[in-house]
Amino acid sequence: MNRKILIPCAIGAVLAVLPLVLNAYWVDVLNSVGIYAILALSLNLIVGHTGLFNLGHAAFYAVGAYTAAILNTHFHIPVLWLIPVSGLTAGLFALVVARPIIHLRGDYLCIVTIGVGEIVRIALINNVFGITGGANGIFGISRPSVFDLTLRTPNQFFYLIWVFVAVTVFLFHLLEYSRFGRAINYLREDEVAAEGSGVNTAHYKLAVFILGSAWAGMIGNIYAAKMTIISPESFTFWESVLMFVIVILGGSGSIVGVFLGAFLVVGLPEVFREFANARMLIFGAAMVGMMIFRTQGLIPARPRTYSAPDLEEGRETAV
């Protein structure tokens, strides 16, 4: 029990001092890692825990980011206040999109989510409803402020992002060990058996899809706040692939694995900057290699363990 509290505290302490020792560039890299970690954690609910192929997660990320950007630039609502609104619109969009397609299996769902992602991107480029700014996107999103402090430097964003990461990890950890978490794991392992045991699979699939998408929408808000400019280019298919790869590479279903995945996928290309053009080539080859030599991901989720009830004690109480 002690370890369960000590380790996160130690990691938190190390992260808290990191911006003091790193230069602005690397802090910014860590910010990206944080954003992708949250995105991948939200996708992990859908892909890792529930086993639904989703290669269009960037669409919901985009909806959240654009919600924040539009409401902020038009109505001057402070951008961080819009986090719940971004989550809500992304969640609603997920509900509308997923309701008719969620029953599709495996690759069918995968290809439809790709299609949804593309439609959203094309819609943004075509300036849908005249509010998304077309291919140039939206600029002039105001800087976020926490109480009276306006966030500008990478260091300040570092704390904003990683606090959000901590909250996400905490909540998702609780979710994983809840009734809900068990239900979605069950339907990933065997949908028919889950249905037979009274798990309403359609309901749970939809719920998890909406939850993951809403979370991506919220981080979309933070992304918009950090960049102050957003454009359709930031929400392409490859963005979805990146999130997907983080989940699978790290170890689907495992929170620690997702973090390692985020560090590797987002951080390592920065380390190999000198290879410039060839780094994506290496990245692709590494993906193939990883899958061949470590199929289950770097840190796969451990199977659930339950301690058996103490038989002696049971007998005593029975008597």
Binding site: L104, I111, L249, S252, M280, G284, I292
Partner: protein
């Protein structure tokens, strides 16, 4: 009326290219239940290899435009077939027994690898096909001018599809491929070397895809290292439209998608052209998930 006819023929030509690519997806999916994301990059590779061979060998000058083009198509198909076999050997064969998600990631990785290899070799800019290979002649059909390239593309693809259909339906290897697609275990018990079947599928499919790449180069005149992504996604849509795993379905789906897209671009909105294909895809999956010709039910993960 004239515009309608122009769009129809254009749609059929583009659709036949989609169909050729879709065949590669649907064959691999039929046997392995895997979306071969790298297929679209083999298609791009076909376009680039075609350009290289075209400019370095100057076949058209030596043996005439007709034979030059035919030899070129055969060479590109052969080379891409080899690339396909290599891809299977390196990226997919070690993952036969792994979970499906791993194979998907491997496919995405192979796709990124191939795309960037092409970019490093040929550069990131658009490359232009020489203009004087195919005759610039124009056919007059029903009072409408149809470029000869369009007709050539359509008929070459139809011929290739007919050849493939014959190969799958009438030859021993084709029977083995169909058997492996229905039940790999049973096929193995009947003495079919399934790994060899998969290897052949990974040669035939990409060969058709490579030919499609060459046709895009000849038809549109310019190619780019990222073009595979759009074509690949639409071809996959076409495969689903016709019923994935179903070879005639991929042909019908491709032609249909090409026509829908051309008419949609002309009469609805050009800017939303790419979105139309995906909207069709989503509609099809909601209304008839098995596709137009598919009997195969969506597989359990």
């Amino acid at each position: 009326m004239e515009q309608l006819f122009q769009q129809l023929t254009n749609g059929l030509a583009v659709g036949s290219i989609y169909a050729l690519i879709a065949l590669g997806y649907t064959m691999v999916y039929g046997v392995l239940k895997l979306i071969n994301f790298a297929h679209s990059d083999l298609f791009t590779l076909g376009a680039y290899l075609g350009l290289t061979l075209l400019t370095s060998l100057t076949l058209a000058d030596r043996i005439g435009p007709l034979w030059g083009t035919i030899v070129l198509v055969v060479m590109v198909m052969g080379l891409i077939a080899l690339a396909g076999a290599l891809l299977d050997r390196v990226a997919y064969r070690p993952l036969r027994e792994s979970p499906r998600l791993s194979a998907v990631v491997s496919a995405l990785g192979a796709s990124i690898f191939l795309q960037n290899t092409i970019m490093l070799i040929y550069g990131a800019r658009f490359r232009v096909y020489p203009e004087d290979i195919l005759p610039k002649a124009v056919f007059h059909v029903l009072g409408v001018d149809v470029p000869v390239v369009r007709i050539l593309v359509l008929f070459t693809s139809l011929a290739m599809m007919a050849a493939l259909y014959f190969f799958i339906q009438k030859t021993r290897i084709g029977t083995a491929i169909r058997a492996a697609a229905i039940d790999q275990g049973a096929a193995r018990l009947m003495g079919i070397d399934v790994n060899r079947v998969i290897l052949i599928v990974f040669m035939v499919g990409p060969a058709l895809g490579g030919a499609a790449g060459l046709m895009v180069g000849l038809y549109y005149g310019q190619i780019n290292f990222t073009m595979g992504w759009g074509y690949g996604l639409k071809a996959f849509t076409a495969a689903i439209l016709g019923g994935i795993g179903n070879i005639p379905g991929a042909m019908v789906g491709g032609l249909l998608l090409g026509v829908i897209e051309a008419l949609g671009a002309a009469y609805l909105s050009f800017a939303w052209k790419d979105a139309i294909a995906f909207a069709v895809l989503i509609l099809i999956l909601i209304v008839r998930p098995t596709g137009l010709l598919g009997e195969r039910v969506a597989e359990k993960v």
